[in-house]
């Protein structure tokens, strides 16, 4: 009996190993996506044409990347490719979220000291968060998930892909952005220095100066401009990435003066690539100042409209997105600021609806889709991998019967890194390739 058991367990073990191998093989699965319309969100060859749209197109996918993309008439589908038939559907890039809090456990803010350059969100990625599973149902494939805005420097965010089936491959970039907070939230906290805006500004400038000096010292040493080795400070080490331009700084800020202060403190004084995020309460009023500067990337949400009936105001509903565009800001992305999974503000899967509401309030349709794809990717500096459908980029693709902006049509199928991670129940758009009969299984 014992022998039989052992035998069975060996068989089971073999099966497990076998399925592991099959899983690896699946990674390398090749797909051909036939789509009625492809919104690539990549720049068209002629700049005046805007973004490239391919009607009756084909996308070839292998090794998780886009291998070819173009009109179906110009691309041959090799035999070994599984066909995803979306001939009467739209194919669009997976949605990119620049500001959210999902997919983490034990994150948010430590709330002991107001400056935490030592903390990193990458330590608490939780692939089992239900919000991750739901995110793909709304076409979201990449998110920058981060600390809260309870302290002035919350730490470093992490950029993750929405394929929880392979937790070890979820992290796209371990250091997503430096998360800082400039207006309102930290001021609410009772405490000592930093309770007022003056104190808070001092904190921010203090830590930025520390980080900048540390970075400069090490750069000088590494360039041979200085002999003595600077002291290694683990808590400041991560800030080098921001000061060396490798990652952006995302700053929680509100209102016109708040956004202006963010632009001055981070961009003008410290030459940091900055993403002022939220910016409600009239942030767009300084949109022209943001537009003047290359590396200021506005990120709006979860509020996307401003309204006030005070006398100095005009009693109008202002779409924040369209108001920024009217002032020349095109580096514009939209967020959900999603926390957990609830219906109260905006859950992660409804980022496209956030863009649709911005379009409703006057933002151009194309700009609204850019704001949840390529513009968000550019803000985070990951546009070499995601945000548009181009050869060589990650095969993160959303397929549905309408535009991303159409809230009445559901997402039908989602690919992340070339893997089908979601398909609507009872749909079967994937046709396996016919296997040559001679080949052994």
């Amino acid at each position: 009996m014992k022998h039989i058991c052992l035998g069975i367990s060996i068989v089971v073990l073999c099966c497990i190993l076998d399925s592991g191998a099959a899983e690896e093989q699946k990674d390398g699965k090749k797909y051909a996506v036939r789509a009625g319309k492809i919104l690539t969100m990549a720049r068209a060859e002629e700049p005046e044409a805007g973004r490239r749209v391919v009607n009756h197109g084909l996308i070839l996918i292998s090794d998780g990347k886009i291998e070819a993309l173009g009109p179906a008439t110009e691309i041959q589908v090799p035999d070994s490719y599984a066909l995803i038939d979306a001939a009467d559907r739209w194919a669009m890039p997976g949605i990119v979220e620049a500001h959210t809090h999902i997919g983490t456990e034990g994150g948010f803010n430590d709330m002991v000291v107001p400056l935490n350059p030592e903390l990193r969100m990458a330590d608490c990625v939780n692939p089992e968060d239900i919000a991750v599973e739901k995110a793909v149902t709304g076409g979201v494939t990449t998110v920058n998930t981060m600390q809260g805005s309870g302290t002035n420097l919350g730490g470093f965010t992490v950029i993750i892909k929405m394929d929880p089936s392979r937790p070890e491959k979820m992290i796209l970039r371990e250091f997503g952005a430096m998360k800082m907070t400039q207006a309102f939230n930290p001021e609410r906290r009772g405490g000592d220095l930093g309770l007022t805006r003056m104190g808070m500004s001092w904190m921010i400038r203090y830590v930025l100066r520390e980080g900048k000096e540390y970075t400069e010292a090490w750069q000088a040493y590494e360039d041979g401009q200085r002999e003595d080795k600077p002291e290694y400070k683990p808590e400041l080490e991560k800030m080098r990435k921001a000061f060396e331009g490798k990652i952006p700084t995302i700053v929680h800020t509100y209102t016109g003066w708040g956004v202006m202060q963010t632009i001055r403190t981070f961009y003008d004084e410290n030459n940091l690539k900055v993403i002022p995020t939220h910016t409600a309460g009239g942030g767009y009023l300084v949109g022209n100042e943001a537009a003047k500067r290359d590396d200021v990337h506005i990120n709006i949400g979860p509020r996307v409209l401003d309204f006030s009936w005070t006398e100095e105001y005009d009693n109008r509903f202002h779409g924040m997105g369209s108001e920024y565009y009217a002032r020349g800001v095109t580096n514009l992305s939209i967020n959900t600021d999603s926390v957990g999974w609830s219906h109260f503000i905006a859950p992660q899967e409804e980022l496209a609806a956030q863009a649709a509401m911005s379009a409703r309030l006057g933002l151009d349709d194309q700009a609204a889709i850019e704001a949840i794809t390529i513009r968000a990717a550019q803000a985070l500096g990951i546009d070499d991998r995601v945000g548009s459908l181009e050869v060589g980029k990650d095969a993160d693709i959303v397929i549905k019967q309408g535009s991303l902006l159409d809230v009445a049509t559901p997402v039908d199928l989602v690919l992340v890194n070339g893997r089908v991670v979601y398909q609507r129940r009872s749909l079967n758009l994937v046709a396996e390739p016919e296997k040559p009969t001679t080949e052994e299984e």
């Binding site: 005070t310 009693n315 006057g362 194309q366 535009s403 159409d406």
Partner: protein, 467 residues
């Protein structure tokens, strides 16, 4: 001026009182807007005949009339069709290329200060409240509002009403006060639920004794009339099916427990929230119980039980399939000014569009924010569809109701034009170029097709790539 009954007069004074306080608190700026809207409202004198001509009329109850005309007389719809002869001196409103449909009905809402620091809703209504003008701008023309809710100790109590956003006009604002009994019970609140059941039985036994007594009287027999137990009026109304009970029941357990009460006492109930209704849709359908729900409501599945649980975007579609009547309300059923867009009554059709993305057909989704909602709140004799004889609560839209860029252009309440997008400050600066369906990046939604259901062929349960 109309002669008011004593009761109405009292009501009016109360409301004026409330109105004065609120108006003082508001800025003069809003007053200016109010005046502008008043002018729009009073531009059409009583007795004048108005025609809305040339639009595609979504009647809701009898299909779409292409390029049709609606005639409005004395605040009511007097004629509707493709060939309507216009009487002399008819004021004609051109709606060519527009969608004309009934004003939207919100089966749960807050508006106009209803229920604010008054025992009666009628005493609290403020026709100048900012939310009234926002309701008009959003095309919502009939609303069910709660006044006071039952206290923590009582299972039944408080008040509710059906109201209209008649800006600046208190007379037309209240349609009816107390259209349902507010119930405050759930399976987990066992004490309140037990009290409710005990009181219902008490009322039931009283009604039985009363019937026996009346029978005895009819047969000329002697006897004492039974004494009505104190505090059972609401229970008696429920048992006589004079009013439905509205109660919040989110989980399948709560819903089934509510249905048990229906089985035992035969009362009418309306379930609110009903986020797990999709798991017990057949049971709800059997009892002919109506539901007020929010398609985007979120609830995590309960991993400790083996049956389906939690929220589903397919909730509305499954209820429809089972034959349950339901109304759709947004995640925050109010007029929200804090910047979150698409989740409140300013965009009620967006919530219905989410039900469509969950597999519901467009016609039923439209009904859920018009006629079905009107039926559930007991106002279908007056509102919820475009039919001759009904109140002329009509909205004119610049596109498909479920397109994200569609705005309300005109809102009529009781036959009066009360909102004109062009003349109001709210949205007049927002214009979308050309035909929405032409946009490369837009949705390409075709004109109204009642049977269109983009999600009908599949469900929304996540696909497991390993299966």
């Amino acid at each position: 001026m109309m002669i008011l009954g004593r009761k109405q007069q009292k009501t009016r004074e109360g409301a004026n009182r409330a109105g004065r306080v609120t108006v003082r608190a508001l800025s003069t700026h809003l007053l200016a807007v109010s005046l502008a809207l008043c002018v729009a409202g009073s531009a059409m004198a009583d007795g004048e005949v108005t025609a809305i001509r040339g639009g595609d009329i979504y009647t809701i109850t009898s299909g779409v009339i292409k390029s049709g005309t609606i005639l409005i007389e004395d605040g009511k719809i007097s004629q509707i069709g493709q060939n309507v002869a216009l009487p002399k001196s008819t004021k004609v409103i051109d709606a060519k290329g527009k969608v004309v449909m009934p004003g939207l009905v919100a089966a749960a809402a807050s508006m106009g200060g209803a229920g604010y620091s008054s025992r009666k809703i009628a005493d609290s209504l403020d026709p100048y409240h900012y939310s009234v003008s926002l309701a008009l701008a959003s095309g919502v023309t009939t609303l069910f509002v709660y006044g006071q809710r039952p206290s923590d100790q009582e299972p039944v109590g408080g008040t509710n009403a059906v109201i209209k956003p008649t800006f600046g006009d208190l007379e037309g604002m209240l349609v009816k006060e107390s259209v349902a009994e507010n119930l405050n019970i759930s399976n987990s609140q066992w004490l309140r639920r037990t009290n409710f059941m005990l009181k219902l039985r008490e009322a039931q036994s009283y009604l039985q004794k009363l019937a026996d007594y009346q029978q005895a009287q009819a047969k000329q027999r002697k006897g004492q009339p039974p004494r009505k137990p104190s505090g059972t009026d609401a229970y008696i109304r429920l048992l006589k099916r004079e009013a439905p009970a509205r109660l919040r029941a989110s989980t399948a357990d709560d819903i089934l427990a509510a249905l048990e009460i229906v089985d035992e006492f035969g009362i009418r109930i309306i379930l609110e929230d009903a986020v797990e209704a999709w798991t017990v849709a057949e049971e709800i359908a059997k009892r002919d119980v109506a539901v007020v729900m929010t398609p985007r409501q979120k609830r995590r599945p309960n991993k400790e039980i083996s049956r389906p649980s939690g929220s589903s975007l397919e909730n509305a579609a499954i209820l429809k399939k089972a034959g349950v009547k339901f109304a759709i309300i947004p995640t925050s059923p109010a007029f929200a000014l804090w910047g979150i867009a698409g989740r409140d009554l300013m965009t009620l059709p967006v919530e219905a569009a989410f039900a469509v993305s969950g597999g519901l057909d467009e016609q039923t989704a439209l009904e859920a924010i018009t006629i079905s909602a009107a039926e559930i709140i007991g106002a279908a004799d007056r509102v919820g569809s475009l039919q001759v004889g009904k109140d002329a609560d009509i909205i004119v839209l610049d596109g498909h109701p479920f397109h994200y860029s569609t705005f309300v252009e005109l809102t009529f309440v009781n036959g009066k034009l009360m909102y004109d997008k062009k003349k109001s400050t709210y949205f007049s600066h927002i214009e979308h170029d050309g035909d929405l369906t032409d946009s490369i990046y837009g949705s390409g939604l075709s004109p109204m097709d009642p049977n269109r259901s983009p999600a009908a062929e599949g469900g929304l349960i996540p696909f497991d790539p390993n299966q």
